[in-house]
Amino acid sequence: MFSSCINFYSFKPLKMLRSIGQGVTRLLPVVCPTTHMAKAAVRVIEGRSVTKLLYEVRRIQWITTCKTMRCEVAEEEEEGEGEKKEDNIPPEKNRRQIIPVETSIKYMQSDAYKTTYGDEPVWVKYRRNFKGGLPPTKTRKTCIRDGILATGNPCPVCRDEFLVVEYRNLELIKQFISPFNGAVLPPLKTNICQKQHRRLLVAVNKARDYGLLTYDVPHRHYDYSEYYQPQQQDDTTEAGR
């Protein structure tokens, strides 16, 4: 079981090719083709006029036969790739780590939050960048792409990794509800990205469903005649007619 580097030639059967570089749909690796076939195929490709090509040859290098070595190589390759990817992310832009809601709730009570935001909602001191006098009618789609901050001026929620918009985080959610009419503030006012705004709407509706957030329920009027008629013995509530 020694490792050996063999140059494999993979052959793909093709019916007709107009030119040399046409698309390859599937490569069928062939183990150890005979040299004359390889040479023949290569010769065909190198030729100028190609009317009928039987095989398209691609040269694959550095594939070992030994299983164990292959696994190790695979691991090393993956680790190498992973390290490279994470090395490239600056720590202040890294949003790969998921922060639990409980941490966010604690953060809202902490001194760090107090010194950063004071008593105001988190969106008040944020300044949105745009050209011209009037802002675009929609905020950006999302600040975080593939777990990394993809913008230079992220929205008030995305810029602080410890602000988690969830139905249990009432302190944060209440900041995005208007104190005048109880509605969720529009994203043009709060300047949060569209993705966070949708998450906020879900969180607000869920909190109201669980009864964590109260609101003024619309008044329901009852027509007493539907519920009780003193003349009849039975109620008019009998259904199933």
Partner: protein
């Protein structure tokens, strides 16, 4: 691969469970068990005697409306209705015009204070109209036939449901169950504040945490908007709320709201007006306290204190009559009444001293 298969199985399982929970009778069973969890032994829903004839009596309605009170600031507080708010208008008016506006406001206040009806809990519907075995393999889903005529009220609307039960292979035409009726009514006749799916607030845990935060009015408003007054969910939630109110002596939170009347009726029905009386006497609302005792006598017409024939307008004597005969927590009510009488006496004495000092 095995793990993936397990996950998919559980999703399907929960789907079926949810489906059954919405359409099946197990909903009623959940309600019955949760009553035991949530309330004391003597608190039950209206499932024996029908309270409606008593509740809708003129005398009882008058007493309940009087007891509810009319605190204008409380009734017309600023409500957040998610609409664009307008600044208030200031007008110069004559006295007659002011009186006109005030009477209009009083009419509107009375409509806002309309009490939700107190009814007996509704029984499950078991009405099969037709059993047609020729339809048995025709379709795999239920068909619902609903009368969507404009102007037909939700309570009188005909909703039929043709089923083919998966286990029994017959096509029966039956009336829809109460839960199905509620969902269909909301689908075809949507009302503000009502959802197709029951809010999670009415589950035990969430209800308890809401009541621990003393959001009694919100919970009652929500359940009025969502459910019918004779549904099991409505009755169970109301029982939980009244139970919590009574335990913590927070009756005052519902004062001058539409829920105060039904709460007093419920407490009087279950012979548990003592803590309410104590809190009213401590707030020096002797008129209201005597009204509550009068309500108790109207509901339980054969109680001992009614036979004493004391005048209802002599509030203190009236309450004392109740304490001696029918009261269950005599010591507390007696003590409260005694404190009130001492306080009144002290005030009178103080006034007398002041007038003497002024030489009058």
């Amino acid at each position: 691969m095995a793990a993936a298969a397990m996950r998919s199985f559980s999703v399907v399982g929960s789907g079926i469970h949810r489906f059954l929970g919405l359409t099946g009778r197990c909903l009623d069973l959940e309600c019955i068990t949760s009553i035991r969890r949530c309330s004391n032994t003597s608190y039950t829903t209206y499932n024996d005697r029908d309270p409606a004839p008593l509740f809708f009596e003129d005398e009882v309605q008058v007493v309940l409306q009087r007891v509810t009170g009319m605190d204008i600031d409380r009734i017309f507080r600023r409500r957040q209705q998610e609409k664009k708010s307008t600044p208030p208008k200031y007008q110069f008016l004559t006295n007659e015009e002011v009186d006109e506006y005030m009477s209009e406001a009083r009419v509107k206040a009375e409509s806002l204070l309309q009490m939700p009806p107190v009814l007996k809990e509704r029984q499950p519907i078991n009405n099969i109209l037709e059993t047609n075995t020729s339809l048995q393999a025709h379709h795999t889903d239920k068909y619902v036939f609903a009368d969507i005529t404009f102007g037909v009220s939700d309570r009188n609307r005909t909703i039929l449901n043709r089923t083919i039960l998966v286990r029994e292979t017959d096509g029966t035409l039956r009336s829809a169950w109460w839960e199905e009726r509620d969902r269909i009514n909301q689908t075809y006749n949507p009302r503000p504040g009502r959802n197709v799916v029951m809010p999670k607030l009415f589950n035990d845990e969430n209800l308890k945490s809401a009541l621990a935060r003393q959001e009694y009015e919100f919970v009652l408003d929500r359940v009025c908007a969502q459910c019918e007054p004779d549904s099991s969910v409505y009755q169970r939630v109301c029982v939980c709320v009244y139970d919590a109110l009574d335990t913590h002596h927070h009756h005052n939170t519902l004062y001058s709201t539409r829920h105060y009347g039904p709460m007093c009726f419920y407490l009087a029905w279950n012979k548990r007006i003592d803590s309410l009386l104590v809190s009213l006497i401590q707030e020096e609302k002797i008129n209201t306290a005597s009204d509550i005792v009068y309500l108790y006598q109207l509901i339980h017409k054969d109680c001992k204190s009614a036979k004493l024939n004391i005048e209802h307008t002599q509030h203190v004597e009236f309450i004392k009559g109740y304490i001696e005969e029918d009261c269950l927590q005599r010591a507390q009510v007696q003590l409260a009444l005694q404190c009130y009488q001492d306080l009144q006496h002290q005030r009178q004495q103080h006034q007398h001293n002041v007038t003497n000092a002024h030489g009058l």
